[in-house]
């Protein structure tokens, strides 16, 4: 039931914030802060109470789950489940959405209530994505997530927001559609071979082993959705536009969380469901990852619009995730999850920094900036930390993630690891370049700006403290996700190794949740 609260709090909070905001915008802010605070505390409470179970490997991967009928006629269930991986992402969701509300305190003055409604509903949809283990339910949340984000960018965005939202929706819809087709394909495949029509994640695991060619196409369907969201080269071009036009909070949600949904999808669904197909596709995906790292970094350097630049750095960093997950090495998976958190923090920080600069300067054009260090030393120091995180300085959490990914990748393909490491050099180029263009040199334009106030400093302090803290003690993260990822790897490997014996029919699979209900109330014996 706790899991339902994670959905209900933002949903209800959003409605109330909207209604209250019609009369009193300020109350709407405080209310959203309170709702998200409650959400975050709930997640932390889940973390604390489960901290012992997190490191113990069990047959049953879930720490908590909630399962009830949804659309019984087609075997779709309302099934939420939590493991270490989703826990980390929920914590990130809670934290970043709190920061998003705080950073919009002054930026958003128009239709404040409706803004917070959208923000909170986006959080709810994301929560659903990270919790759903019924494929139809997952797909539902995946698509629903788009609506509040569309409104956030479309209403509170900058000049070219309509173009950007259209592009954003078209790209992600296309990917989502392909995933839906793949889900249906899997559904019918499973139904036809076993007679049981279900969208249940664990029942569908191993369905396709007997049909490698079909599995490959279905895998591509999932890949399309996740790769667009991530975004992977060459499907990234919606991202710079969406980010550039989004309000700061929109960018925080987008970069910090929505992109992570793509990465999460790979780990949770793509690999366990289609291990061999993913394996055969791995060289291509890893290649795209490396290209993304390098291409994104060069493009970031080329930009003069600060927000566009940060968006391209995301493309580069997400390349590491794509490369890492498709290396299918345990260390790389761990690293990929660390990058999710690290990038969530550091890039959100950068977007908030850009937002703060834009509020002060009225421009995002980097060529018009310079010499702000003297005026805003606090801001400059924060910017320095964020730039260092972005270039992967050891001691900050981004480095831990990138390093683990590359160690894992090296074990699978040393040349790709070497090529990706070049990305670190280009990251240094663009990070230092950005920092120096804004803060050092002469203040030619004659800016007079205020340094960070208390609210802004508090937000950024949270980010920086976490970047350093997790950089020096990443174990906090790694311990949480280790068991979950090992389990996902084991599932992947188990399904993959059964391919040899799979000529006859679908491999039966044990470990089904005995959670009752007509759709899942069956059990199959796993051969061998």
């Amino acid at each position: 039931m706790i899991l339902n609260w994670l959905l209900l709090i933002p949903l209800l909070g959003g409605v109330v914030a909207w209604l209250v905001g019609l009369r009193r915008p300020m109350w709407s802010r405080w209310l959203s802060l309170a709702a998200l605070g409650a959400y975050f505390i709930l997640v932390l409470a889940l973390w604390v109470t489960n901290v012992d179970r997190l490191t113990v490997a069990t047959e049953q991967p879930w720490l908590l789950q909630f399962d009830s009928a949804w659309i019984p006629q087609i075997g779709a269930r309302y099934h939420l489940a939590l493991d270490g991986l989703s826990l980390v992402l929920l914590a990130l969701t809670g934290l970043l959405s709190l920061l998003a509300v705080a950073t919009s305190w002054q930026e958003i003055q128009d239709r404040v209530g409706f803004f917070h409604f959208n923000l909170l509903w986006a959080v709810a949809a994301l929560t659903g994505v990270f919790l759903a283990v019924d494929l139809l339910l997952f797909s539902f949340f995946w698509e629903v997530m788009l609506v509040p984000l569309y409104l956030l960018i479309g209403i509170w965005g900058h000049e070219r927001r309509i173009y950007a939202t259209l592009k954003f929706v078209l790209f992600t819809q296309l990917g989502g559609l392909l995933m839906l087709v793949a889900i249906l394909g899997l559904y019918f495949l499973h139904g036809d071979t076993t007679g049981i029509y279900t969208f249940d994640y664990q029942s569908l695991l191993g369905t396709n082993v007997a049909f490698p060619r079909l599995a490959f196409w279905l895998m591509l369907g999932f890949f399309a959705a996740f790769a667009v969201k991530l975004p992977a080269f060459p499907l990234h071009s919606w991202l710079p536009d969406a980010h550039t036009e989004a309000p700061t909070a929109g960018s925080v949600l987008l970069a910090g969380l929505v992109l992570k949904a793509g990465a999460y999808g790979f780990l949770r669904f793509l690999f366990p469901l289609f291990p061999q197909a993913a394996a055969s596709f791995a060289p291509v995906a890893m290649g795209l990852g490396v290209i993304g790292i390098l291409y994104g970094a060069v493009m970031a350097f080329a930009q003069t619009d600060l927000k566009r630049m940060v968006a391209y750095t995301s493309v580069s960093h997400m390349g590491f995730i794509l490369l890492g997950v498709f290396s299918r090495h345990n260390l790389a998976w761990q690293g990929a999850v660390v990058i999710m958190v690290a990038h969530g923090l550091s890039t959100s920080g950068l977007f908030m920094l850009v937002g703060d600069l834009y509020q002060r300067l009225g421009t995002r054009d980097i060529t018009r900036m310079g010499g702000l260090w003297t005026l805003a030393p606090r801001m400059s120091r924060i910017a320095l930390m964020l730039a260092l995180a972005s270039l992967g300085l050891p001691g900050l959490v981004n480095f831990v993630g990138e390093y683990l990914v590359l160690v894992g990748v090296y074990k699978t393909n040393s040349w790709m690891a070497g090529a990706a490491a070049v990305g670190l050099v280009i990251a240094t180029v663009y990070s230092l370049w950005m920092l120096q263009r804004i803060f050092t040199g002469e203040n030619v334009a004659g800016w007079h700006i205020a340094d960070y106030g208390r609210r802004e400093l508090a937000i950024m302090t949270v980010v920086v403290v976490l970047l350093v803290g997790l950089g020096l003690y990443p174990q906090l993260l790694l311990n949480t996700t280790q068991t979950a990822l090992t389990h996902l790897q084991a599932t992947t490997a188990a399904t993959e190794s059964s391919v040899g014996q799979a000529q006859t029919l679908v491999q039966p699979y044990e470990q089904l949740p005995a959670a009752g209900g007509d759709g899942t109330a069956y059990s199959l014996e796993r051969g061998k």
């Binding site: 790209f171 670190l424 230092l432």
Partner: protein, 637 residues
């Protein structure tokens, strides 16, 4: 007492943290200075205590490990934050904290003209620099070493670009961080390779396993050693990644002293010495190290000859002296390299600090041609600078530089991996060294005072916080040689014996030449250099000028002056193509496709719009035609 080791790197890092948090509140100078100098000085005192314990009651195996916490532990990958103290790291820690403290003390007076905020900021960066270097040399595993390694790079960026309002400083800062980071990338790939094949990053364990599992000359050993070398040449400013060092002079002078003497550039030397067992398995890479060292010391020596900026002379001389250390490492003369590192730290810090006094007294004038005659204006600075120069030029018997450089030259001559060619390069370098050094001394301190000097005369004498470092370092630039006295002069190799706990002795082969002969030869060379410098600078300057105005002379002079054109080469090969790529694709070629998609659908829409005529007869026709098509299809199929 050894448990206090953690304080050694921790104190400077804490000093940095406190100063940073304070700096926006504009702390009083005294407080900032007390924290800044105090943190490093206490760190040095702690090191002294540890040294006493280490010498009187050595830990088992002559090494002590202090584990602090698990840094990253996933599956079979486990890296701890742990410090490793042995003879090698102890020598480095002593030098870093000692010279570091003196430089900090000097800075509190040198930077007095800055405002409170900058003053605290400067000291905080210096603290971090020392702290990171200490992490680097104390790390018990390569990943923690890498943390220190990158941290040092970061501090160099912050300090070289300290006066951030001048874009040139920013450029130099960026260049230092970037160029070294290119080397670092090789290093980190080396770390991947080592972990992949040997399953650990613990340095001691790595060395044992490498020796057990890899045959000498095996491909993996060579690759690993070569990748680590990539990192080393970056940080230590050796060919081909040496280009950042001369530009690094943009930072305040104490920064140069710190970079050149105690931190940063010696990191590469440390890394190679630390992983010497790996290099022993890769003889080809060792030869490459020696050749890189020999080439760098020669090329940098020629460049130093032609500079007019006193700090750039010193910068090239560092490059050249680190070249000697690489030469020594390359022939397996590990202890000679470390000895030279130590002596070099003393005299190079001294020279930079002296140059800093000169430059600041002449209101930021760097050109030696606008100095002259400063001998009488700044007597203490002159005498200490002269001692430092003597050590740099390795003047026989009376300077520490003589002992360390001769140890290198003799080891190169007599080592199994050395030989006459490498030795000859070293000897030629010795001539260049004393030439450019005394050219600098004569130009700066002798002759008639330049009008600029007369204009500012009398120059204010440095205060006590500058005099203490100068005198202390000058004393050490003379006496440090006694720590390792060669066989020919009394055979008292204290430092070498101590370091042999960690580093193997050099493999010597009989050459038929006695050590004394080699020593006499190099002594003569050093003295010759001084004499030539005197003649050309003080007597025949016109002749020299005429020489440099001949076509060949001018071309050569320019080539040397520009550091052999490496900057231009890199510019053409790397920077320009990169900028071109970024400029050409600024709009992101990938984005064209979706944009085209929009255009195409608009075109189709425009086409279909024409069918919406609103005329009934057209619609009726369309219905009939459509029906006909369908019927035909049904019948035919």
């Amino acid at each position: 007492m050894l448990a206090l080791l953690v304080l050694v790197p921790l104190l400077p890092v804490l000093g940095f943290a406190v100063l940073t948090l304070m700096s926006s509140h504009h702390p009083p100078r005294r407080v900032a200075a007390a924290i800044g100098v105090g943190s490093v000085a206490v760190s040095f005192v702690v090191t002294l205590l540890i040294t006493v314990t280490f010498l009187t009651s050595p830990p088992p195996g002559h090494a002590d490990v202090q584990t602090l916490w698990d840094w990253i532990a996933v599956g079979d990958f486990s890296v701890r934050v742990a410090l490793h103290l042995d003879a090698l790291s102890l020598v480095f820690v002593l030098i870093i904290t000692f010279v570091g403290s003196l430089i900090h003390l000097y800075s509190t007076e040198f930077m007095a003209d800055e405002n409170d905020w900058n003053y605290a900021r400067f000291l905080s960066y210096l603290n971090l620099f020392v702290g990171m270097m200490l992490v680097l040399v104390l790390a018990n595993n390569l990943l923690l070493l890498y943390l220190g390694w990158e941290g040092v790079g970061l501090c160099s960026f912050l300090l070289i670009g300290f006066w951030y309002q001048d874009p040139n400083n920013g450029r130099a800062a960026r260049k230092a961080f970037l160029v070294t980071r290119i080397g670092d990338t090789a290093l980190i790939v080396g770390l991947f390779l080592l972990f992949d094949n040997l399953g650990t990053l613990n340095i001691q364990l790595l060395m044992t396993r490498a020796t057990e599992q890899w045959a000498p000359g095996s491909a993996l050993a060579v690759a690993a050693a070569a990748l680590l070398l990539g990192g080393a040449v970056g940080k230590s400013a050796q060919l081909p990644l040496q280009i950042w060092l001369p530009d690094a002079m943009a930072g305040p002078t104490p920064v140069s002293a710190l970079i050149h003497a105690a931190t940063m550039v010696t990191a590469g030397v440390y890394l190679i010495a630390r992983t010497h067992a790996l290099y022993a398995l890769a003889p080809t890479v060792m030869t490459v190290v020696a050749i890189i060292g020999a080439l760098t010391l020669l090329l940098a020596g020629f460049s130093a000859l032609t500079q007019w900026d006193i700090k750039r002379v010193l910068a090239y001389s560092t490059m050249s002296q680190i070249g000697y250390m690489f030469l020594a490492l390359g022939v397996g003369a590990w202890t000679a390299a470390i000895f030279h590192f130590m002596v070099h730290a003393f005299f190079k810090a001294l020279l930079f600090l002296g140059a800093g006094v000169v430059i600041s007294r002449l209101h930021h004038e760097h050109s030696m041609f606008k100095m002259g005659g400063l001998r009488k204006e700044l007597p203490l600075t002159f005498w200490t600078f002269l001692i430092g120069s003597g050590a740099l030029a390795a003047l026989p018997l009376v300077t520490a530089g003589f002992y360390s450089k001769d140890k290198i030259l003799w080891d190169v001559w007599s080592s199994a991996q050395g030989g006459p060619w490498l030795w000859a390069a070293g000897l030629a370098g010795a001539l260049l060294t004393s030439l450019y050094t005394f050219r600098m001394v004569f130009l700066t301190f002798f002759g008639d005072p330049h009008p600029l000097v007369q204009e500012h005369s009398p120059l204010p004498r440095p205060g006590i916080r500058i005099r203490i470092p100068l005198v202390t370092l000058a004393v050490l630039a003379v006496l440090a040689g006694l720590l390792d006295v060669p066989k020919t002069l009394g055979n008292f190799p204290l430092l070498s014996d101590f370091l042999h706990q960690v580093l193997p002795p050099v493999e010597q082969v009989a050459t038929g030449t006695s050590e004394a002969t080699v020593q006499v030869l190099s002594s003569l060379v050093a003295l010759t250099g001084v004499a030539i410098a005197y003649l050309f600078v003080m007597r025949w300057r016109v002749m020299l000028q005429r020489l440099t105005h001949t076509p060949i002379g001018a071309a050569l002079w320019r080539l040397w002056f520009e550091g052999w054109g490496f900057d231009r080469l890199d510019n053409a090969l790397i920077t320009k193509p990169f900028l071109w790529l970024a400029r050409v694709d600024k709009r992101d070629v990938i984005d064209l496709m979706p944009a085209q998609l929009g255009g195409i659908s608009e075109a189709i829409s425009a086409l279909l719009k024409r069918t919406q005529t609103g005329q009934l007869r057209w619609y009726a026709l369309a219905i009939v035609a459509g029906a006909a098509v369908f019927l035909t299809a049904v019948i035919v199929l």
